[in-house]
């Protein structure tokens, strides 16, 4: 009899151990594939200590990025407005939400976000960290117009998600924090660093004379002077991720950074977007007012509008801009297009599973 008790106790103990082992399931670390130019030229990307990248977390985040259950009527996902084919931006000037309402800013492209060192996201820097940014579109009444309570319930009742969350975070009870963490993990893997110009910098190809001259126009303080805000061969992000008034308007219907800080000195300032992948991210500017790159270049050349907060780098504003020749404009466009990363927009790792 005593032997039986001992035997039963051992079996119980063993079962208990097995259950604990499952609880302690550890997701596998995900190693970002960092382009050589990035690791050579830039400081390390920002990966929050409380949300390290894991293979399970990234896979879950990808599934959630394309998940339409995040919207009230189950018709829209993050990818609806952040289309991979458009370098995760929207080809429409203003994205249309589930109720047919339009926003008032163009959806920003999504890539190289882990190198946004100040971690201020959106055109107006209104969200700190990718995790926080991901909270907003779900509950925004002109976007997905859903509540996080409903989203978590829908995902909790889903046949796959509880298991996937358990694998990614060790918790099968889904909440909004875990959802945004997973989406942020996936977004950090969206790395674009293999354009023709990257290959040129790596010594793998040559530029055309037009592209070469266009790069010189970009870098010449007496011509385009684009490099002060938009990076260079030594800053492969091609943005400073800071906020500038680039002379679009004399008066502001959208205050941009000023609306966030409440400081009139910030009125009309918006984040410098990266000039990578411009071939895929039209229309341009925070309000998508320009449909072509020619319009963008003409703006800086002749179209600058003065206002009190205009950035001092917008030189020659009294003459409308830097007055580029027709050839320099065409060559500048050729250079800008050399920063298009076709591999990025076609990467199966970033497409709908």
């Amino acid at each position: 009899m005593t032997k039986n008790w001992v035997f039963l106790s051992l079996i119980f103990l063993l079962m208990n151990c097995s259950s604990k082992e499952e609880d302690l399931y550890a997701p596998v670390a995900y190693n970002l594939e960092i382009p050589s130019l990035f690791s050579q030229k830039l400081i390390a990307p920002i990966i929050p200590a409380n949300n390290p990248l894991t293979q399970e977390g990234v896979a879950l985040g990808k599934k959630l990025f394309f998940e339409k259950l995040l919207s009230k009527d189950n018709t829209q996902s993050c990818a609806t407005c952040h289309n991979p084919q458009n370098a995760f931006s929207d080809s429409q000037q203003f994205s249309v939400g589930i109720d047919g309402k339009k926003g008032f800013r163009n959806a920003m492209p999504l890539f190289n976000l882990a190198w946004n060192f100040d971690e201020l996201f959106n055109w107006d820097g209104s969200e700190f960290s990718l995790e926080n940014q991901a909270f907003e579109p779900v509950r925004n009444p002109i976007e997905m117009h859903e509540t996080w309570k409903n989203v978590t319930q829908k995902l909790q009742n889903h046949p796959e998600y509880p298991t996937l969350f358990k694998k990614a975070f060790g918790i099968a009870t889904i909440d909004s924090v875990l959802i945004t963490k997973a989406i942020a993990q996936f977004e950090r893997t969206l790395i674009s660093g293999n354009s023709k110009f990257d290959r040129f910098l790596r010594g793998e190809t040559t530029l055309t004379p037009e592209e070469e001259n266009g790069f010189n126009v970009f870098m010449d303080e007496a011509k385009g002077d684009c490099f002060h805000c938009h990076g260079s061969n030594n800053n492969p992000l091609w943005t400073d991720n800071l906020f500038h008034n680039n002379g679009l308007d004399k008066t502001f219907s959208d205050l941009g950074l000023g609306a966030k800080t409440g400081d009139p000195k910030d009125n009309g300032k918006f984040k410098s977007p990266s000039i990578r992948n411009l071939a895929f991210t039209a229309p341009y500017m925070h309000d998508g007012r320009f449909t072509t790159l020619e319009e963008v270049i003409n703006h800086y050349s002749e179209g600058l509008q003065f206002s009190s907060t205009i950035d001092p780098l917008m030189k020659k504003v009294s003459q409308g801009g830097v007055q580029l020749s027709a050839k320099d404009k065409a060559d500048l466009k050729a250079f800008l297009l050399s920063l298009s990363d076709v591999e990025f927009i076609n990467n199966p790792s970033f497409k709908n599973p």
Partner: protein, 250 residues
């Protein structure tokens, strides 16, 4: 026996002295070099940015929108830090801590910008990440300072200035750039350190427009990077910008 006692006593005394001598003279201290900024004595802080509130020696009313610069080889005696970017508007990088500075007299100096030997294109990841580079067509390397703002021009209209200092470059022959190192060393002098200490280094921003070259922003305002002569003038004015402020002990 008495001799032995004397010998033991002397040995003890000698050891004791040696130990004391070591501790008194060679215990290191920590020194903080703190950069502050003023306009002819009026402190400049973040709230002063983007406001027309300072007047240059030549009479132009200006606003400061961006002011950031590099100091390199910040040296106290034998201890040094290679470089640091100071961003006045963001109030970052203004303090440089040098540890293990030996007690006693030490010479204090630093360089504004980078000497040619350190001004190597693209090698400093933190400066690349914040776009502080100089295009290769102008010799590459890094800015020494980016000082952007607005001024009231001769018609009292707002106009922009980009007072950017770099290694001077003559670009008249793009195939054969002529470069001149316009960074400069600032010698603060010898300071005696007996405790952990903070040294204030004051930058009088007004001096960039004053001495020895009276600066007329209506003439020299933008596109100064490829202007060889302007770079030399800025460098000359920079020699009068820094001075020693307060020295305080913990």
């Amino acid at each position: 026996m008495k001799r032995i006692y004397v010998l033991i006593f002397l040995t003890f005394l000698f050891n004791s002295c040696e130990k004391k001598d070591c501790c008194v003279n060679f215990d290191p201290v920590n020194v903080t070099v703190k950069f502050t900024h003023n306009w002819d004595g009026i402190p400049i802080n973040q709230n002063d940015f983007d406001n027309f509130k300072f007047t240059t020696e030549n009479g132009e009313l200006i606003s400061i929108d961006l002011l950031r610069y590099v100091v390199s080889n910040v040296t106290i005696g034998q201890i040094s830090k290679k470089y640091q970017l100071i961003n006045v508007g963001e109030n970052t990088g203004t303090e440089i801590v040098l540890n293990q500075v030996p007690k006693g007299n030490n010479f204090v100096k630093f360089r504004f910008g980078f000497a040619d030997v350190d001004n190597v294109d693209g090698v400093y990841q933190d400066l690349n990440s914040t776009s502080f580079n100089v295009p290769m067509m102008m010799g590459g390397g890094y800015h020494y300072m980016q000082f952007d703002g607005k001024y009231k021009d001769s018609n009292n209209q707002d106009a922009n200035f980009n007072y950017h200092t770099i290694r001077a470059v003559n670009m008249s022959n793009p195939m054969n750039l002529i470069l001149e190192d316009t960074s400069f060393e600032v010698e603060i002098g010898t300071i005696e350190f007996s405790k952990n200490t903070t040294i204030e280094i004051k930058m009088n921003v007004a001096e960039w427009f004053k001495n020895p070259n009276l600066w007329d922003l209506n003439v020299l305002n933008t596109v100064l990077m490829p202007n060889f002569d302007a770079q030399k003038l800025m460098s000359e004015n920079g020699r009068n910008v820094f001075s020693l402020g307060e020295i305080s002990n913990e």
